[in-house]
Symmetry: C2
Subunit: 284 residues, 2 copies
């Protein structure tokens, strides 16, 4: 099976690597950056570098580029592929891309997916084997994709070791704002607050423990990837931020009022996140 991976960063590169190593697929790589393309070849993520000419003979095209760029290029990709090609995106927002392609002639060649996996690193050298194993892949509007191509997608996801959840794109974007997008903002702003205060970086380094490292880990993430995500999912993200700021403000009020009973209660209630998180496969 001829698989074209467009965008050889953390996600695209890791998909390419896992599929290549099964020996069942020929992996063709494309990337806007010549350096990334070369790096992906050197690292053995892909079988060969290609250009857009490869699209018309592809069995599967996987698009792993920032969500704004994906929106722009997807109609043209669908125009170029054959009637039997499966085109999938793997972006972190799903409403706009589904809307964008709703009336496209080749809508049935497209599958909207969001594999929930990653690290805070980016680029081909961040690609890793087994990144998706045991993780969830959210698939949206599956009924709009041709049945045979749904099947082909399942073969790919099975090779990657993912479990599938089907979801409406609007529900996806709303929920993911809470469990992913808000985490990134909370982490970025935590990093910012500490950097602002601690002019002497040496002090941060010496006193920061694993707790701090864990909460600011996501502040290492790529602005190129995340700015378009916040743009696409603006309304949902604003709602999460509203709730988050309000909760912080209330905690601050309790502390101002020296209402330690309320503070205790806030933490005790939230402790049940333990049970909720049990079973999430941690990828570090």
């Amino acid at each position: 099976m001829k698989v074209v991976v467009m965008g050889l960063g953390l996600i695209g590169g890791s998909i390419a690597l896992d599929l290549k190593q099964t020996g069942k697929f020929s992996i063709y790589g494309l990337d806007a950056s010549e350096a990334h393309l070369k790096k992906a070849l050197d690292l053995g993520l892909i079988d060969q570098a290609a250009d857009e000419q490869v699209l018309k003979n592809a069995d599967v095209v996987i698009l792993a580029i920032p969500v704004n760029a994906a929106l722009t290029v997807l109609p043209g990709i669908l125009d170029q592929v054959s009637d039997t090609t499966l085109v999938m995106d793997v972006g972190s927002t799903k409403t706009l891309v589904c809307q964008q392609l709703e009336t496209h002639d080749k809508r049935r060649n497209f599958l909207a997916t969001h594999p929930i996996a990653g690290t805070e690193f980016s680029g081909p050298s961040a690609a890793m084997k087994g990144l998706f194993r045991g993780k969830t892949n959210i698939v949206c509007e599956v009924e709009k994709t041709a049945f045979k191509l749904q099947e082909r997608a399942m073969v790919i996801f099975e090779e990657l070791g993912m479990r599938i959840r089907y979801m409406d794109p609007k529900a996806h974007d709303k929920h993911i704002a809470y469990v992913s997008h808000l985490s990134h903002i909370s982490s970025f702003m935590l990093g910012k607050t500490v950097i602002q205060e601690e002019k002497n970086e040496r002090d941060i380094f010496d006193m920061a423990g694993s707790g701090f490292e864990s909460t600011v880990r996501l502040a290492k993430s790529s602005p190129d990837m995340w700015t378009p995500i916040f743009k696409h999912n603006r309304e949902n993200v604003l709602a999460t931020l509203e709730g988050y700021i309000e909760n912080l403000r209330q905690f601050k009020t309790f502390l101002e009022q020296e209402n330690y009973e309320a503070i205790y209660h806030e933490m005790e209630k939230t402790n049940r996140i333990k049970d909720i998180l049990k079973g999430i496969t941690i990828n570090t």
Copy 2:
């Protein structure tokens, strides 16, 4: 050397375990909870369970209980120990404990320390070998401790594998508010916000990835330990919260205004947390 560990939770239990395994110390354990004391014995964290009678013949007493309880019992412990006993606390706030003991007759028997290590778990079964290896131990007002007892403390810290940083208690409390206490609040409130929104826990579970797990990890922490810390360090914590909420509010304003250039810039600036964090030993 006869070492008494009072409080056999994550920190006290881990100290006891590491010291016991060197074979150089006899470890006597005390805990307000009978069940914890028994558990610590069963797990082999201590050589034997003891009561307060043991204090008068101790070479070293390590107090590893919540900071409010430590404040209450420390004067009495110092009253009971001999002139040649070293008493150390390991609490996360240092100003109040140093003030509390400032005029105590046995001030020179006391050393204020804060080993920066831990996990989100608590109790004797959370104790782990090597928890402190390569981590920083902040020591406050070292000059107020008898020279010989400073030396004895260094022997202990060396066995645990810790590197020492000397700091003024007020500076400690201010800095630690940023790199530890704020992280805990941001994590608790993130957990709260998501739980509030997502009534159906199954949805959180299915969509949450490693990023979310990482940012809410600290929300599993013990309210018994953390409420007194926030109380002790109230003013510093309020200042960090003020700054954090303001930064979140500004990010929200940028998003409302669709000022994606500013959002990009915010993240790009904060990306340098990467370099700051390089070298922090992660304990997970």
